[in-house]
Symmetry: C2
Subunit: 364 residues, 2 copies
C-alpha cells in the first residue's frame, strides 16, 4: 500500500472533515479548502487539515490525491473548474451519494484518474463540528470505477479508503445508483409520503395518541433536511424514478390483494418481505483472513472495473490489488487480496465463469 504524500480535500464539512481527521493519523499531509471560510477555519482548528488553502486551485495544485467532498449537486461544477488544475499524476475521487451523473463529469474532467466514491457512513448532524476520525471505521465505501479507470488511480483511492478504516467495495455507477435509490432515496420519499398522508387524516392530538413505535420508526427519516434530500434526489433522478415505479407497482399489487380479498397472497407477500428483511440484516459472512488470488488478464481497458465490480456485486472486500504488466506486452498478472475464505472462493468462481483463469497460491 503506497500512501499519497499530499491529499487535498475540497469541502471540509462532516465527510471532508472526517476524512482529514482520519487521514492525518497516518504520515500524510492534508490541505483543505472550503468556500465557507468559517468551516475551513474550524477544520484547521480541529486538526482535520494541516493547511487551509486560499483557493480551491491552491488546494489541489500540489496534491497527489484530490477528494471532492462537496455537496452532490456542487461536485460536477467543481470537476469542470478543476479539470486543468489538478496535477497530471493525481487521482481524483468524490463522496457523492449518487454516482452516474457525477462520474460522467469526473471522467470528462480527469479521464482515467477519476474514481467515484461513496462512503456508507454519516451522522444526523452536519458540518465540521460533527466530524470524527472514526466515522468510517468498518463501514463500506463504494468505489465506482469505469472501464477506463487507471490502475494507479484506483489503487490510490482504494488505499486511502483502507487507511480511513473503511472497506472499499467496487460497484458499477449504475448499480450503485439503482441500489441507493431503493435502499435510501425512495424510502426517504416514502417516509415523507406516509407522514403527509397520515397528517391529513386527523387532528394532531388524535394522531399523536395513535402513532405507535412502528410509525415512529418508519417516519423518523422524514425529519431530515429537505434541501439536502432534494439535491440527492435530483442527482439520482433517473434511478429514483425507477425505484418509485417499483414501489408504486408493489403498492398496486397489495391494493389488488386487499380488494380481491386474496389473503393467502397477501400473507405470502408479507412473509417474503419478512424473510428478505431478516436476511438483509443477518450477520455478514464475507470477512476474515486475507486470501490472495492471481490471474492473467489481457492488457485492455475495462478489465480492472470488471474484476472489481464482480467482487463488489458479491459484497467482497478487495483488500489490495496489483497489476504486474508482462515485459512481453499484451498481458499482465493481476493479484487480488480478498477478505475471507468464503468471499475469495465466491469471487474466484464468478471470475472463472466469466472466462478468467484464476489461481490461488497454496495455503502456507
Amino acid at each position: 500500500m503506497v500512501m499519497p504524500r499530499r491529499v487535498a480535500i475540497v469541502g471540509t464539512g462532516l465527510i471532508g472533515g472526517s476524512i482529514g481527521l482520519a487521514a492525518r493519523r497516518g504520515a500524510v499531509e492534508v490541505v483543505g479548502y472550503d468556500s465557507d471560510t468559517a468551516s475551513l477555519e474550524a477544520a484547521l482548528q480541529r486538526g482535520a487539515v494541516d493547511d487551509a488553502a486560499e483557493s480551491v486551485e491552491d488546494a489541489v495544485g500540489d496534491a497527489d490525491l484530490v477528494v471532492l467532498a462537496t455537496p452532490v449537486d456542487v461536485t460536477p461544477i467543481v470537476c469542470d473548474r478543476l479539470a486543468d488544475v489538478v496535477p497530471a499524476e493525481a487521482a481524483v475521487t468524490d463522496v457523492g451519494s449518487a454516482k452516474e451523473a457525477v462520474v460522467d463529469r469526473g471522467v470528462a474532467a480527469f479521464g482515467p484518474r477519476f474514481v467515484g466514491g461513496h462512503p456508507m457512513a454519516g451522522s444526523e448532524r452536519h458540518g465540521i463540528a460533527a466530524a470524527a476520525a472514526d466515522l468510517f471505521e468498518g463501514a463500506w465505501w463504494i468505489l465506482t470505477p469505469t472501464e477506463e479507470v487507471s490502475h494507479a488511480a484506483y489503487s490510490a483511492v482504494s488505499d486511502l479508503v483502507f487507511s480511513l478504516g473503511a472497506r472499499p467495495v467496487a460497484l458499477a455507477p449504475s448499480t450503485h445508483d439503482a441500489l441507493v435509490a431503493r435502499l435510501s432515496h425512495v424510502p426517504q420519499l416514502a417516509a415523507s409520503a406516509l407522514v403527509d398522508s397520515a397528517a391529513a387524516a386527523g387532528t394532531k392530538e388524535a394522531l399523536l395518541g395513535l402513532a405507535g413505535a412502528g410509525f415512529r420508526d418508519v417516519t423518523r427519516i422524514a425529519a431530515s433536511d429537505p434541501a439536502l434530500w432534494v439535491a440527492i434526489v435530483r442527482a439520482n433522478a433517473r434511478s429514483v424514478l425507477e425505484g418509485l415505479a417499483g414501489l408504486d407497482s408493489a403498492i398496486a399489487d397489495i391494493t389488488a390483494m386487499v380488494e380481491e380479498q386474496r389473503w393467502d397472497d397477501l400473507h405470502d407477500f408479507m412473509a417474503r418481505a419478512r424473510a428478505a428483511r431478516l436476511e438483509l440484516f443477518a450477520k455478514p459472512t464475507y470477512t476474515g483472513e486475507p486470501v490472495s488470488l492471481t490471474m492473467m488478464i489481457p492488457d485492455r481497458p475495462g478489465v480492472l472495473a470488471e474484476v472489481t465490480t464482480v467482487a463488489g456485486n458479491l459484497g467482497a472486500n478487495i483488500e489490495d490489488l496489483r497489476i504486474i504488466h508482462s515485459t512481453e506486452g499484451g498481458r499482465g498478472r493481476l493479484e487480488l487480496v480478498i477478505a475471507g475464505e468464503d468471499a475469495a472462493a465466491a469471487v474466484a468462481e464468478a471470475l472463472r465463469s466469466r472466462g478468467f483463469r484464476v489461481d490461488r497460491p497454496l495455503v502456507d
Copy 2:
C-alpha cells in the same frame, strides 16, 4: 369510580394476560379463558387470572365486565357465541386493532352494553410469557362508543382502563379505523413493499453493504408476523384501501415532481412532511390537573358518544364522567373531568360550538 367485582378475560395472551395482571393489583376478581389450554394454565401460574374457566361460557357467566382479548378476526365470532350468555347487566369490550366491523358485531350481540376498545400498547413479543402489569402505563386506550352506548357500560369500561394505568380516549369507530390505517396498517404494508422492491435490486451482499440506518428504521416492522398482520388488514380492509390510495396518490405526486424537475415543489413537500413529523412527536400538551366541566344534556341516545368523541378528536383525556338524570325527565346533567386546563378549555369550546351549554365550577 366503581370497579367491577368480577372481570372475565377471554383470550389470555399478551394483551389479555397484561390486563389480568394489571387488574388484579386492585380488589377485583379475574376469571380467564383461552382455547389454548397451555396459555390459560400459564396465565393462572403467572397470576394473570384468579380462576381458569373450563369454557368461555363459564368464564363470562358470572362476570360484570367482559373483555374480549381474542385475535381481531376471532372476536366477531366470540360475540355471536356469547350474545345470550353474558349477564344482562355486564358491559362488554374488546381490544382489536380495527373497530368498525367488530363494533357492528358487538352491538348486534350486546346492544348498548358493548363498547369497543383498542389499547395503544404492545410488544414485539407475543403470548402470555410477554404479558406485563405495566404494559398500559401511560398509554392511550381508544374507546369507540356508538350512539346507543349506555352510560353504565361506558363508565365501567373507562374505569377499568383507568385502573390499568392507561388514558381512555373516545373516537368514532370510523375515525379510529381511518387513523390506524394511516398510522399503522399502511406503513406496515409500505415497509414490506420497500423491502420487497429493494431485495429485487441486487445481491444480498451488495444490499447489505448499502443499507444504512435509515433503511433499517423504515423497514424494521417488515419483520413482523405476517399471519397477525393479514388478520389486522382484513379486519380493516376498507380503511386500509383508502389509506393505500392516499399513499399511492402521494407517490404519484412525488413522481410527477421528479419527472418534471419541480425541485421547489419537492422541497416544499418534504419540508411540510418534516414539520408534520416533528409536530406529531412533540410533547403532548393535554395532560395536567383534572378540570371539571358540567353541561345540561337532552336525555336521548347518542349524546354520550358525541361528547366523548368530541373530546377524543381533540386528544383530551376524560378522566371521569357521570350523568345525573333530572327527576323531571327529559334532561340530565353531564359532569366531565378532563385532564389539563388547555384540554378542558378546548373541549368546552368545541362542545359550545355544537350547541351545548357548558359550565365550569369556579376555580377553588
